[in-house]
């Protein structure tokens, strides 16, 4: 991943060592993230910034609606869609229950077929393992398949610091890398960029961009094809993630569209796959469920253009040196929470992002994590741990209206709203007392008012009085401590009369007093 201040290493021999600035295309977000899993301010603070980006909101509205409509169309044409969701949910729940046995079995089957399995407790260990493998292969550059796991551990930045150029080969990831951005969507990571910006990124940062490159998506895609083909043909090492792996057979699968995945998984001599431990499935037959759930939920297609499955090493066909890195990096922490652990069932389809009214408006960067949207709001804090989480991390479970659209869209029926409420509770009550948060203060004040009859009556009268003063206008800012609440939301217009008052009045007029 390119970072501001350094040119992306798109080609070692043509490396520009100083980033001279590119006024037209500043990176998004501007700040350099320290941890890809969680960077930046709290969600409400970050959202205030992204909400002001009109281009972003236009792009997002269009993208989320388009994918949403396609998904609804292709899931509706399957009469057994709900049965597939039930099967998918149960297969994942079962896999979690048997995770130790399945991982051990996967190690056995992959090894038996000539692969090598590595275990990584955390990001640093995974990065070290991958770096050593690249060095052992004698390579100074690698080609990469789009992978959430390697983004999560900041592998590109680590490799770059070790003098190894990591080339993203998915078109959107290439755009994000060249621009020095962070991905803003799991499926379409460059959705925050329009075609003009992308043309400018290619013109200024892709050394072999054709002269006179236009902003036509087809022209831009062909420029990327030409640029990347040279890399594919010369690369000795590829790095990928995995959509799933089958314990019973050792089969690993990558689902993709462009063919960059096939290039990486086929041409280089060495293949290193980094996979979260939760991606393991028990049996080959389970593929028949996930190969229906994933493409239809993700891109809204009946099937994605390409899926590659490989089992260890096949002599004479594809990489002859295969390494599978099994990554924990907080997953066992999430697994320990009986309600929260369902976040580990996620197959990274991004359907929940596309239906979320909050994501559609704030965009992915507001979540400050490689995992944005509703799933990110429950996954990120659990991977990092809530016990001693900072306020920014603890703010993520609150980045939701609890409307439940994500639950309905999820192909493996992750009950995100329930997990959000549960994690809100944990964020407020777990671990050492942290400084008061907006939500905490508001809830504390509400508890004080609601637990006492006289105080409740007083509060109602006070708010009715305020309602009359405001004359039905929305309240944008309250004085402290109410400002903690209004910092993230408007207060609805206050009624001039409380329900309690109206009820008492009605009783008096119809002649019946208190019973």
């Amino acid at each position: 991943m390119a970072t501001p201040g350094h040119a992306p290493r798109s080609s070692p021999e043509r490396l520009v060592s100083t980033y001279l600035g590119m006024p037209g295309v500043p990176p998004k977000p501007a700040a350099e993230p320290l941890d890809p899993l969680r960077w930046g301010p709290t969600f409400p603070e970050a959202a205030r910034g992204t909400l002001g980006d009109a281009q972003l909101r236009t792009n997002l509205r269009r993208a989320t609606r388009t994918i949403r409509d396609k998904r609804v169309a292709v899931t509706a044409e399957l009469p057994d869609w709900e049965a597939l969701r039930d099967a998918g949910a149960a297969i994942k729940a079962d896999a979690m229950e048997r995770l130790p046995e399945l991982l051990e079995q996967l190690e056995v089957t992959v090894t038996a077929r000539g692969g090598t399995v590595h275990w990584a407790r955390d990001a640093a260990e995974a990065n070290r393992i991958v770096t050593d493998l690249v060095r052992a292969a004698g390579a100074r550059e690698v080609v990469k398949v789009k992978s959430m796991a390697t983004q999560e551990i900041g592998l590109n930045e680590h490799l770059e610091a070790e003098g190894i150029a990591a080339h993203e080969t998915d078109l959107a990831e290439l755009i994000v890398q060249l621009a020095g951005d962070r991905p803003s969507h799991i499926l379409v990571p460059a959705i925050h960029r329009n075609r003009d910006e992308i043309r400018d990124v290619f013109r200024t940062r892709m050394p072999d961009a054709p002269a006179g490159l236009t902003n036509e998506p087809a022209a831009l895609a062909m420029a990327a094809r030409a640029h990347l083909r040279a890399l594919f043909l010369r690369a000795d090492v590829a790095i990928s993630g995995a959509n799933l792996a089958i314990a019973g057979t050792g089969t690993v699968a990558v689902v993709e569209s462009e063919g960059n995945g096939r290039m990486c998984l086929t041409l280089p001599r060495t293949l290193v796959t980094v996979m979260g431990i939760e991606k393991v499935l028990p049996d080959f037959r389970d593929l028949e469920v996930f190969l229906q759930l994933l493409p239809r939920s993700s891109t809204g297609e009946r099937m994605n253009p390409y899926t590659t499955m490989w089992t260890g090493v096949t002599p004479g066909d594809g990489p002859q040196d295969f390494h599978l890195v099994l990554l924990d990096n907080g997953r066992t922490r999430a697994l320990a929470d009986e309600i929260g652990r369902q976040a580990l069932h996620c197959i990274r389809c991004s359907a929940c992002l596309n239906v979320c009214p909050v994501y559609e408006r704030t965009g992915g960067h507001a979540y400050g994590s490689v995992y944005p949207g509703p799933i990110g709001a429950i996954l990120t804090p659990q991977l990092l741990g809530l016990d001693d989480a900072d306020e920014a991390t603890a703010s993520l479970p609150f980045a939701s209206t609890l409307c439940g659209a994500c639950y309905d869209a999820c192909p493996v029926k992750i009950d995100i709203p329930t997990a959000l409420v549960h994690l809100r509770d944990r964020a407020l009550h777990d671990g050492a007392p942290r400084r008061p948060t907006a939500a905490g203060a508001a809830m504390g004040a509400a508890a004080a008012v609601l637990s006492s009859g006289p105080r409740f009556r007083w509060a109602l009268r006070a708010s009715a009085l305020a309602g009359r003063v405001l004359g039905g206008r929305r309240v944008r800012r309250l004085p402290w401590p109410g400002s903690l609440w209004t910092a993230g939301r408007d207060l609805p217009a206050l009624p001039v009369r409380s329900f309690r008052d109206a009820w008492a009045r009605a009783r008096r007029t119809d002649g019946r007093g208190r019973p």
Partner: protein
């Protein structure tokens, strides 16, 4: 403790088991810890090998903007030759029917044979215009063709690097659903599998679909019989 031991111990602890905790089910394929309801369809009403299955496959492939040509069993070689028109060089995998290879030669294209012990390199394939293969199975419901590197299908690189892929699918290879295909493929799960649903595509720029990025930009399916 090694990383392996530590991760596995953490998983066991997270599941509320002791370090030597009793596994729920030691064998994948054995009893599941959670009941998995499989009420979804395996058969979809589209009989494998039927005219209806071929029609649906064609419809789905056209939807992906692949090119589909139907022909009878006696016309395969001639149809393959027509689909290769304009290609000066054609790669053929080991085990491709001789009649098809002859058809390539008759068309005037030079034939690059990928044979065991004499594999074609990626750079040579990059200069090759087209490739002809068969397939293992095709899924009508999703418009998917699966190659498992068996005879006549070749190593994965063959169908990846040349820009045109002419793929011959026999009607008796067409099943209705994804589960039907998976149940065929699970007989040889160790073979490298490539699932192809149309030409390569991207929608990464403003969600505008562009066909043909890295894989073959030109997918031509020859659908044979019934």
């Amino acid at each position: 403790m090694t990383a392996r031991e530590e991760v596995l111990a953490a998983v066991r602890a997270a599941l509320g088991r002791g370090p030597d905790g009793e596994p729920a089910s030691p064998v994948p394929g054995g009893p599941r810890a959670v009941h998995v309801p499989r009420a979804y369809r395996v058969a979809t009403g589209t009989a494998p090998g039927s005219v209806a299955a071929c029609d649906l496959l064609e419809h789905r492939l056209l939807d992906y903007r692949a090119r589909v040509t139907r022909c009878g069993p006696d016309d395969v070689a001639a149809t393959v030759a027509r689909e290769l028109a304009g290609a000066a060089s054609v790669a053929v995998p080991h085990g491709l029917p001789e009649a098809w290879v002859d058809a390539v030669r008759v068309g005037g294209a030079s034939v690059l044979a990928d044979e065991p012990g004499r594999p074609l390199g990626a750079a040579a394939l990059d200069r090759t215009d087209a490739v002809v293969t068969g397939c293992r199975v095709a899924v009508a419901d999703t418009g998917t063709i699966v190659l498992d590197a068996g005879p006549g299908q070749g190593r994965r690189v063959l169908t990846l690097v040349p820009d045109r892929h002419v793929c011959v699918v026999r009607a008796d290879q067409v099943v209705g659903s994804v589960p039907e295909a998976v149940r065929l493929l699970e007989a040889h799960p160790d073979r490298p599998l490539t699932w192809i649903s149309g030409p390569s595509a991207t929608s990464d720029i403003e969600l505008v679909r562009v066909e043909g990025v890295h894989g073959p930009r030109d997918l031509r399916v020859v659908l044979v019989g019934p």
